[in-house]
Symmetry: C2
Subunit: 143 residues, 2 copies
DNA sequence: GGCTTATCAACAATCGTTGTTGATTAGCAG
DNA sequence: CTGCTAATCAACAACGATTGTTGATAAGCC
């Protein structure tokens, strides 16, 4: 993802205003590799600026996504996660806690010839599901 | 998926009762390859039995899933889809209308050695995203 | 037919997310 | 620095998908 300074410039260029709320979110997202949910970003943001609203977090994430600066992921774990990494990559998803981690690899996958069923395929994502380190440990005790 | 008769027997064996509502849902799911949503099943069911409730559809789908007879899919398209096919397979997803189709293929994908980041991976799903036949035609006109 | 308990339909509630609104403030001209 | 105007804000209501609750009903078994 671009740096907070670059995003600030990009926003201004496009006629968007850059508020303290947005600058903070730029900071929280920059270099963030844990695919935060809107809620978790809101929690982090609230720590610094208690008056910020969840709505503002969603709004800014939505703006960033429509500019192509972040990627919204829905792994079927209840809430969307936001990925500052917009390169092609894949994901490891914890079935228990919903944790998501990036996986960089080129699997060179494509739909076998004649099997696309009328679809024009734009991209292929691989999702590896399983248990993360933390949830694995929990499993040893009660199940 | 098992036949309605087999499911009826399975349910009874497990102490579940088999109501007309459930038998109808067994029928609607059997041989169904379009990954219906709960709503679309509800619509189909209502045509035959106008008094059936959406709650009953969800309840029965949930029962079937916990018995491993169907698979719940969340492709990030708003609502869950239910797949009577529990074999390992992949999916084609329409970015516009949410349509989902099965794709049988063995891609032999695995997490590259040492890159699992603490995860114990149970399975890998490939999701091909693009546009389906119907939505492609719409695109030619206004996009 | 009668008993017991799972299931039913209706309804309210939940969760993540988006729409609405009047007040505030960023960006810019003077 | 002052003032203008539109974008943004926080608060709140609303939304769609799903799940919880409840009293009435009916499946399964005697």
């Amino acid at each position: 993802m671009k740096t907070p300074a670059e995003l600030t410039e990009l926003f201004r260029t496009r006629g968007f205003k850059v508020t303290p709320q947005r600058q903070m979110l730029f900071r929280l997202l920059h270099g963030n590799d844990v695919h935060p949910t809107a809620e978790s970003l809101y929690a982090a943001a609230s720590a610094e600026m208690p008056t910020i609203s969840l709505r503002t977090v969603y709004q800014t994430l939505s703006d960033l996504e429509s500019m192509g600066e972040i990627q919204q992921l829905d792994m079927g774990t209840g809430s969307s996660r936001f990925d500052p990494n917009t390169d092609v990559h894949h994901h490891l998803v914890c079935e228990r806690c919903g944790k998501v981690r990036d996986l960089y690899a080129d699997f060179a996958i494509s739909v076998p010839r004649g099997r696309a069923q009328g679809f024009t395929v734009k991209n292929a994502e691989v999702v590896f599901r399983g248990l993360c380190d933390t949830c694995k440990q929990g499993d040893e005790h009660h199940g």
